[in-house]
């Protein structure tokens, strides 16, 4: 195993586990930003090489995921006056172990999955992407804070982007940019929602929304 793609995927896996492991919200956001920037780098090192198309894609993705989203989230946090600790439903050590189990599952699944024969250039990308998706889901369901759930959503999106790059190398530029725009709008809306939840209820504990009566 070697090559830049492999290194990037290894770093992404490490960042996944780190997101599960941190107790600081701000650090969590930084980690996701780093992961987004790494995913943005993927098209540049893929088989198609550095072309105008990959340059535009990488530039837009890195700007959005590495710079804009963390800014949005941090400002939402400041606006909502969030306490800085992540509040998990499952404990820290246990969620790391769950993450490891998911890692194992995704490597098993990556070996089983029927894929188009030409696609994956590195044996790592598919299991790494599946693992990122699963861990994103885990973060969404196992954390109380709305901010952390947005972080989970971003991890999930990073996984999907990596998977797409691995399996379908030549998605039209327009579609990719459209996807990024969708994610941008989603995060924007979520940041606004976080602000409103906290203004209405004095907290952003999404768990209590389930107690609302219609």
């Amino acid at each position: 195993m070697h090559g830049v793609t492999d290194d990037i995927m290894a770093a992404m896996l490490l960042l996944n586990l780190a997101v599960l492991g941190t107790s600081r919200l701000t650090f969590c956001i930084t980690l996701v930003a780093a992961q987004g920037a790494l995913v943005g780098l993927l098209p540049l090192v893929s088989s198609s090489g550095v072309t105008l198309r990959t340059l535009i894609l990488a530039g837009v993705a890195i700007t959005l995921k590495g710079i804009v989203f963390p800014r949005l989230l941090s400002s939402a946090m400041r606006g909502a006056d969030v306490r800085r600790e992540v509040e998990p439903y499952v404990g820290w050590g246990f969620s790391l172990l769950l993450g490891l189990a998911l890692l194992g599952i995704s490597f098993w699944l990556g070996a089983k999955l029927p894929l188009p024969p030409a696609a994956p250039e590195s044996a790592f990308v598919v299991p790494g992407a599946i693992c990122t998706i699963l861990i994103g889901l885990l973060v969404i369901v196992s954390r109380k804070k709305a901010v952390t759930q947005v972080v989970g959503y971003l991890v999930l999106e990073n996984g999907i982007a990596a998977f797409g790059l691995a399996v379908v190398p030549d998605v039209p530029l327009l579609v990719e940019l459209g996807l990024l725009l969708d994610v941008f709008v989603a995060v924007f809306v979520m940041a606004i929602i976080i602000y409103h939840i906290s203004r209405e209820f004095d907290h952003i504990d999404a768990d209590r929304l389930s107690a609302l009566k219609g």
Binding site: H2, D6, L13, G21, L96, L97, L103, F107, F124
Partner: protein, 304 residues
């Protein structure tokens, strides 16, 4: 058995306490103090060996056996640890399991002696020590398996660490780096260094290792200090062999590179100790689980 292996074994027995001196010197330098002399650990051990021993009437032979058995187990483990590119004194296939269990046996001797005193205080330290070491062991073992896998399935510590060279690092660098990070965490935890345990402290809330040896005195305490130094050498030699992949085949160069690696490691520990505070006790298991996670990740990266 090769002559350089015997030389390395003897060097380990002689120079192990020097690591403590280097760590303390680094800490003193960073703090702007002069600090104790480099050979202070030797002075302490010799002073203790010259004293008489006092045993409480509440203790039995278990308490007297503990320090000697611990020292013997760690010294035996040293015979299976390669240094630099040179193989260990008695390498055999699967010796890494024996090394891990010899370290566990040494710990068992210390814990049994601590429990034998009947002091609740020492029982608390024993409980903490066993809890943390149970978490540190998988990190070490899985890391060894990952490194062995990177060295194309070598089965003894000497063979697998001897096969780690620049090319292995180029081929599976990320996985080896993860394993090294896990080993470094285990190194800090097992040797009671700062993020896990503070070797200087005498505060009952925070002590782990120091608690268990409070009732030992004289030569017994000297044995314990010496065994702790040897244990640091055992784990440090593994790390140095992994991180300094100098395998020229010329014995003097490889050995000198590994020795330089040991000194660097001691300086690194000193810097870590000067720049970090102790972790809260509930955080320590989390740190060790994270180390195990790194080892598992390294292993998975190499399984492909």
């Amino acid at each position: 058995m090769r002559i350089e292996s015997a030389v390395h074994f003897a060097a380990a027995l002689v120079f192990a306490p020097l690591l403590l001196g280097i760590i303390n010197r680094t800490k003193a330098l960073v703090a702007g103090r002069t600090g104790p002399p480099l050979l202070q650990a030797y002075f302490d051990i010799f002073k203790l060996l010259g004293k008489g021993a006092v045993y409480s009437r509440a203790t039995t032979w278990v308490f007297r056996l503990g320090p000697a058995a611990g020292l013997a187990a760690v010294a035996l483990a040293l015979a299976f640890i390669p240094f630099g590119g040179a193989p260990a004194l008695f390498p055999f296939s699967g010796d890494f399991l024996l090394v891990v269990y010899l370290l566990a046996a040494a710990r068992f001797a210390t814990v049994a002696a601590a429990l034998d005193t009947g002091s609740s205080f020492e029982g608390m330290g024993a409980s903490r020590e066993t809890q943390f070491s149970a978490l540190a062991e998988p990190a070490l073992l899985l890391g060894i398996i990952a490194v062995a896998r990177a060295a194309s399935g070598a089965e003894s510590l000497s063979a697998c660490l001897g096969a780690i060279d620049g090319r292995t690092w180029a081929a599976s660098g990320p996985a080896l780096a993860l394993a090294a990070a896990a080993w470094f965490t285990v190194f800090l935890a097992e040797n009671a260094r700062i993020p896990v345990d503070d070797p200087q402290t005498h505060l009952e809330l925070t002590m782990i290792h120091e608690v268990m040896v409070l009732d030992h005195g004289g030569p017994d305490l000297g044995y314990i200090h010496y065994a702790a130094a040897l244990k640091m050498w055992v784990l440090g030699a593994l790390l140095a062999a992994l991180l300094i992949p100098v395998r020229t085949g010329v014995w003097a160069i490889d050995g000198a590179a590994a020795a330089a690696g040991m000194v660097l490691l001691a300086v690194l520990v000193g810097v870590v100790e000067s720049s970090m505070a102790r972790l809260r006790l509930v955080r320590v298991p989390q740190l060790l689980i994270a180390a195990s996670t790194l080892s598992v990740l390294a292993l998975i990266l190499l399984m492909r």
